[in-house]
């Protein structure tokens, strides 16, 4: 966890320095704002990882002498087959087509998105065949 935190905080720090130099030197706002946001992208998750790295025991994947047995147990819950990503993707497709061909494409688009949202939620964390 510590390496992940340092990595992101380091990137955030570098982006922050570059942002300060660039913004003060060029006085150009678009790039300055985007670099500031880039700095936040380093600092926000980096701070989260740092906060956790000080509070949780060393994970097996961070322990250079860990044995495979230490990783035994449930790694996470992985869903099996599921149709809902496909339905959601088709919904997004129709929504985008509405941008081009006319507002009526939103009807099937939003219907599919809603259907996928309901179906995916009902499916729960371990849907389909695992």
């Amino acid at each position: 966890m510590k390496v992940e935190a340092k990595l992101l905080l380091g990137l955030g720090l570098f982006f922050g320095l570059m942002c300060a130099v660039y913004w003060n030197w060029s006085l150009e706002n678009a790039g300055g704002v985007m670099m500031f946001a880039g700095m936040l992208l380093g600092f926000l998750p980096g701070a989260y990882f740092y906060w956790w790295s000080r509070r949780m025991p060393v994970r097996p994947e961070d322990d250079p002498y860990a044995t495979q047995a230490q990783g035994a147990g449930v790694v996470g819950s992985f869903p099996g087959t599921s149709i809902w990503p496909f339905v959601l993707g088709m919904g997004a497709f129709f929504v985008v087509l509405a941008l081009v061909f006319g507002i009526w494409f939103l009807v099937p688009g939003l219907a599919l998105v809603t259907w996928a949202a309901l179906g995916g939620t009902a499916e729960g964390r371990r849907g389909g065949h695992v």
Binding site: V3, E4, L7, L8, G10, L11, F14, F15, M18, V21, Y22, W25, S26, E28, A30, G31, M34, M35, G38, L41, F49, P60, E61, D62, D63, P64, Y65, A66, T67, Q68, A69, Q70, G71, A72, V75, G76, F78, P79, G80, T81, S82, I83, W84, P85, F86, L88, G89, M90, A92, F93, V96, L97, L99, V100, F101, G120, G128, H129
Partner: protein, 574 residues
Amino acid sequence: MTDVLQPPITIAGDDQPQGHDEHHGPTGILKWMTTTDHKIIGLSYTVTSVLMLVIGGLFAEIIRFQLTAPNNSLVSLAQYNELFTMHGSVMIYLFAGPFAFGGLANIIVPIQIGAPDMAFPRLNALSYWLYLTGAITMLAGFFTAGGAANFGWVAYAPLSNSINTPGTGADLWIGGLLLTGFSAIFTGVNLTATIFYLRAPGMTMFRMPIFTWNMLVTGILILLAFPVLTAGLVMLYCDRHFGTHIFSVSGGGVPVLWQHIFWFWGHPEVYILALPFFGMATEIIPVFSRKPVFGYKGMVFATLSIAALSLGVWAHHMFTTGVVLLPFFSIMSLLIAVPTGIKIFNWIGTMWRGQIWFSTAMLMAIGFVVTFLIGGLTGIYLASPPLDFFTHDTYFVVAHFHSVVMALVLGGMGGLYYWGPKITGYLLNERLGKIQFWFLFLGTQVFTFPQYLLGLRGMPRRVPIYPHDPEWKMLNEWSTVGAVMIGISTIVFVVNVGVSWKKHPAGDNPWDGHTLEWFTTSPPPHHNFYRLPQIRSERPTWDYHHPEHRSLGHGTHADEMHSLVGDGFEGHTS
């Protein structure tokens, strides 16, 4: 150190029959539509993106044939605009990125770190559907009355507004890019979360294979860059249809703002494209040199520095606009040469005194290093504003980035020859592979070198016709010859896939590989591993198969393990 020799632990459980995944669940097209398995999604990505490579390549061949003669009329001027726009768009948005981070990375990264799947399998499936529909949307422009988008793959304002580019082709381009942009963002989330949270015990960050490291940094760069592009596209759409004036002077907007937004995505995107292929080369070269990678930590820090610096270089595409801070962007762009140079040094250092096996994958990786070096060196010229003023928007720039991206194609083909046996379970034909390599490698050089010379002679990019000049004609003809050679290499690849289809079973570890993907079966089972070895270095599979030549433990000096420095004696290899 003794625990390296322990037998691998079975993690699937003895009571579970091996290969149980095929028993239930949908089959056929329904299996493809409902899968959340990262290997099948990754394979779908790979096949789709190679199809995009073929489509974009066909556009390129038409462009090159049009340019063979000065006043050629193979295509109309309007068609030519559509062709070069869609060639760039298909290759950048639909081939190079998705092939790397959606295709090979999706399959290989979880296996390399010992994970059962990506962190968010359903999000992964959604990524693919957004990518596929985005590709369909973008290419559908060819079937509309006004034709496909024709404002160049960069869509500069004010050319891209509704007055200068009316029609549905441009809107389809924006829509397709919105979809593929979100697909990339979701893949970036997935890669980052997988690498941070699903590593096997003992797989510390500094034991991850370099490919995985590069994909982690790529994932972070995607999260940094792609939302900016999506925001820019929404603004562009509002300008075109809702009467806003964000990029038009008439309403108080700033056209050059589009260039800032586009290139703030666009330059990190260059590294999003390049880093995965750097990673592939870094996996291939050590395995076929029979040595650990030279300068592992140097490679990691070089990757991180490239990513960090890539945020501060976007305006080197905008030197000639006259409104950007030249010294800042010039210094930043030149600085990127340092970590890139470290990488090239380390690739050569890995091959140095190794026992090189010139397989197709290795040839492709060496071709990648050479071609990328050419593209990188000409990039250093372009980072200098005075030289850039001279060559901006000429064929010199075209040749520079085609050297770079053709290097990526070489690296990607190397990746397919290297990991293809792991993914399908069958080896590709080496003889055809070597024919493909020489056509691709030599074709790339024959294709780009005349373009460098054309650029220095002042030929602008994106022109369908040019003045009668024997020298320009000759150079353009040579470039077309190179393009045809590249086309032949692609045909050889397709033939090779057909010829080798289910011919020569690869076995689990055909190359005597270093990393975890070579420990499992080919193709890997559902959730990837029945058992895992102890992980005590960045090459656990090698350590398991070659305990007498295992990698250094903590606190061991290289002198104590002579075989690691690659002394070149036969007796020290497997």
